[in-house]
Assembly symmetry: none
Homo-oligomer: 239 residues x 2
């Protein structure tokens, strides 16, 4: 860790204090948080500084503010793994299906320009690339392409993926700090149509996902599923 101790900003201290009260249970969901004025007095800060702390906590979804009324602790995210793809095999099994998968690509390779851009890497950097089709009772339900930053998981290719799933390995090696999801409805190209054994008219759901670890883009993945065979269910906060 190259993070040495720099003097912590006052607004950060206020944020941490509120978060601590929430996580310790001193403040429960829907409880009223100290007002800006009171927080400012408590920390010997100006109101603007307390305002900044509370504004950022609002953006982070930890509190809810209502003008004229006050600031309240937000209800906890019911599912930590919000729109996150849990292991597709588990999902299929939970559904009562029979999971199998076909590994089409699993290797190191030079990164392409468009992927390099998405992952903030340089062209010609080396990257891990996998392409897998997941099936239920032999019927393809998901095309899954994944690019992995080797700086984050250098031993990725050497794993025995019969003992640990790729997702589980990555989760262990690189705690995800942040994830971005882009969900689209698309008609997919011929190659993917063939892999998924669908007609060209079949609407598909495309989920592109980037995850960050250690302040780097850790993975970029593209998942495509026929609309008739798959849906996403997510529980999370925020309107």
């Amino acid at each position: 860790m190259d993070r040495s101790e720099q003097p912590i900003a006052l607004y950060e201290k206020i944020k941490k204090s509120v978060v601590k009260d929430i996580e310790s249970g001193k403040l429960n969901p829907d409880d009223k948080v100290l007002s800006e004025t009171r927080l400012a007095k408590k920390f010997n800060a100006s109101r603007m500084t307390a305002n900044r702390a509370l504004k950022e906590l609002t953006e982070e979804g930890r509190i809810v503010r209502v003008q004229g009324v006050g600031t309240f602790v937000a209800r906890p995210k019911p599912d930590a793994a919000l729109l996150e793809i849990k292991s597709i095999s588990k999902e299929i099994q939970d559904w009562g299906g029979v999971h199998s998968s076909e590994i089409l690509v699993l290797k190191k390779e030079k990164i392409t320009a468009s992927i390099a851009q998405k992952m903030n890497l340089k062209i010609n950097d080396i990257i891990f690339h996998s392409l897998i089709v997941h099936k239920d009772r032999g019927i393809p339900v998901q095309y899954s392409e994944r690019f992995i930053n080797p700086k984050v998981a250098p031993e990725y290719l050497n794993q025995d993926f019969k003992k640990i799933t790729p997702s589980d390995y990555l989760l262990k090696k690189s705690p995800i700090q942040q994830a971005e999801h882009i969900i689209e409805a698309v008609n997919c190209n011929k190659q993917i149509q063939k892999l998924l054994k669908i007609k060209s008219s079949e609407p598909c759901i495309s989920l592109k996902r980037r995850t960050w670890s250690f302040d780097m883009v850790a993975t970029y993945s593209i998942i495509i599923s026929p609309g008739s065979r798959y849906k996403l269910v997510g529980k999370f906060m925020r309107g």
Copy 2:
């Protein structure tokens, strides 16, 4: 444009001005943006106001700031701009579009069995029902049907939705929301095809959503958008 004019905050004006310069091509990636001091002077604002504008644009991924050096237009990490599933009108405006909407239904009515089940209400209970088609420059981009529990927002129908959007009103009345989302790729029925002015082959993204407030189901909504005209982008933090 059904957006009536509420006084727009100064920092919002500064943000919009910078975004406009970026999107019009006046400012290109890596170009230097006016410094806080200069922006402040240009808009007759204080430096703190310009600072807020630039700070928020940084969080939105549109610019990059380097202490001691300056502010630069971010490279187009595509899709980084839109962060949350926020109000569709705001989304369209941020995108540089022109939002309008057609209200097809907005009334109290008796609940149907299937909706009653989803909302944990009894058949023949009264519910608020709205059906709106949102457009960008006249092109339909979203079919939005919504059922609202009157216990949560009894004054819903009496609002002047030219002054406050339905979403904003609901957020205010029941600020703490837990939500469940089901996302599917579908081909939609003839009625919706007609409203959205799409061909039957156009893949659409369907987002069904339930929100909870005060331990009740507050709303159930169905949102359908043509895949070619809309996508969902979500950024979620962990820890």
